[in-house]
Symmetry: C4
Subunit: 198 residues, 4 copies
């Protein structure tokens, strides 16, 4: 079993991107499986659906985060003109971590006020963001990014790119003491990232 | 984490559309998970399969509605030549709501004669249809639709385009009083929309 | 909500085919969910895995049949140069029936010696094959097939094309009396179809 | 129902590859379903998540193996210029076996120290690797590989290509005596394959 060769064609890159998109599309859709239909009497259905609030919040949070990861991947790989076996391997590791998110989302939805749930969620997010950062760094250093786009892509690979993984990592020990504080940090992260773009 | 930039290439749009198609294809296929294989003795299997009638109806209803949403997306985006970060964000929100449909379908299939189930189903459909309308309005106003196609696409973004979300929204309070009346409204909606096209 | 227009571009057809492929890929992969991991003590695992035999047979049967439907769709649509709203609607109905197959497969795997299970499985297959035949007939009559390919595609739309749906339909009443006889008919169908090609 | 014809176009090959990619993307993502959210009191969640260790290991192992199979398919089919009905059939059989991996992974994750689980896992992997080898051999012999790429692809189809299925096959009887010994063999396989490439 052998992966990539030195010579790489554009169609190969297209197939890598298409495969990645497929995995993202499925992982993001599987998030819905974390919403379980209650098994109750008709009269109590409304009440039980209300109690799905935390699961629904976890669903939208993860949908937003996974969607954002996809957008970054989309943005970075649109500037990439070639790749090597290391890109393939990093991308596979990246996807293996992304695919864990429907699981950690379900844990968060069901045990959102528990330290262990918040820590596991944050740890996986930190790992995804970190491998993402490593992969972008690698495609830049290995010269896979087209010259005219290097500057735009370099933004994601500098110290600023460690902000997201850093905040998720920092929220792991914080969740040990106070789960909600960690969850508030994530929301602040989303707001800060938005503002920076402008 | 950064989304789109001002400059947008055709391949980027292609990848957005492909990702959207992937999510739609998965969401529409997950509808089948709402049909649960009965766990009974052999002799009672036939009877139990008959009792899946409401689930099967909910399945075909949702398959039709999701399929129709996909067709509209397909039709509108075939006239779009560029996009911006707002399109990406609206499209992501739109998909997050579409992906909820397998869940609301399962609720409807199992509790179809309960107000809460019908209201939740109708509310999500109204939201999907409304965000759809907002997104089409935005691509038109921001000038992303190719000049020669503006007229065809504008049809979806006028007051007429609010008909579907409006009827779904109206059916929410109606379902509170009489669930079946709301369900009949949806079927009338499908018939009216069909007639209008001719 | 509006479907297709008279004027249809090649990219639209491409997107329809890609969406169909996506649904097929997911439906065929969901077949694996019909294999449930036994929940037993370690010492009884081997024995319990053996008892999954019928589920595994149902899995391979459905994988083969769905794969074959995909091949026919693939073959026919590679000769199609345009389409109309009726094609979209028939294709959607076709997909709604194909997506039921993971459900009927699970029913067959768990209740393979029960008339009801075999009848439901056969009825859905007959419907899929019949809608498939209707759709091919329509694209031919509406002139969507490229002139030089009409003959090759016409083969699927003649009376011979009713053989598969006919045999599945015939097996429904037969299953009422003897489930295994119906199952043997399906295998004969696969053999006959193979021979005819040569 | 008829499969391919003698004449085959490039777009057909593209659709076959895209369908295969779709099935791979879904199968690899379904691996996450083998991680079940524990149903315990909040205070015991952390402990129960730790106990998911074996499932997580099985997840990463299978993600790596399926990813590697995808890479080989990707590499080989990028050198293929045409195909025939036998390729279609072998590819379908190959996919039917790949799609079983989420099931065998779940069995391995839950019963990793049981001979039966390890044997079933190894047997399916051996079959996947063997059908893969047969398919590559066929495309080479039938002249579907572009002349200038024959040498690169032939590497996968020689006796060396039987190394992976052979080791998986050999690990089946070994697992009967000692499950962990078989699991160690797989890891050695991954290391050896890596070294050979250099």
């Amino acid at each position: 079993m052998e992966a990539g060769a030195a010579r790489v064609e554009a169609t190969d890159l297209g197939r890598l991107v298409a495969f990645t998109d497929g995995v993202f599309a499925i992982a993001i859709t599987l998030l819905v499986l974390n919403l379980e239909v209650p098994d109750v009497s008709d009269s109590r259905l409304g009440e039980e659906l209300w109690r799905l609030g935390p699961q629904l919040l976890a669903y939208f949070l993860s949908f937003g985060v996974v969607g954002r990861f996809w957008l970054v991947h989309h943005r970075v790989f649109s500037t990439v003109g070639s790749f090597d076996p290391t890109v393939l391997r990093l991308n596979l590791l990246y996807l293996a971590l992304v695919v864990l998110i429907p699981f950690t989302t379900e844990v968060l939805g069901e045990y959102g006020d528990t330290s262990a749930a918040v820590m596991v969620y944050a740890a996986v997010m930190a790992l995804v963001a970190f491998v993402n950062w490593l992969m972008i760094r690698h495609v830049l250093r290995a010269g896979h990014v087209r010259a005219e786009e290097r500057e735009a892509t370099a933004r994601f690979a500098g110290w600023g790119g460690l902000q997201a993984p850093g905040i998720f990592l920092l929220s792991v020990p914080i969740a040990l003491v106070h789960p909600y504080a960690a969850e508030i940090m994530w929301i602040l992260l989303l707001l800060v990232v938005r503002r920076q773009r402008r």
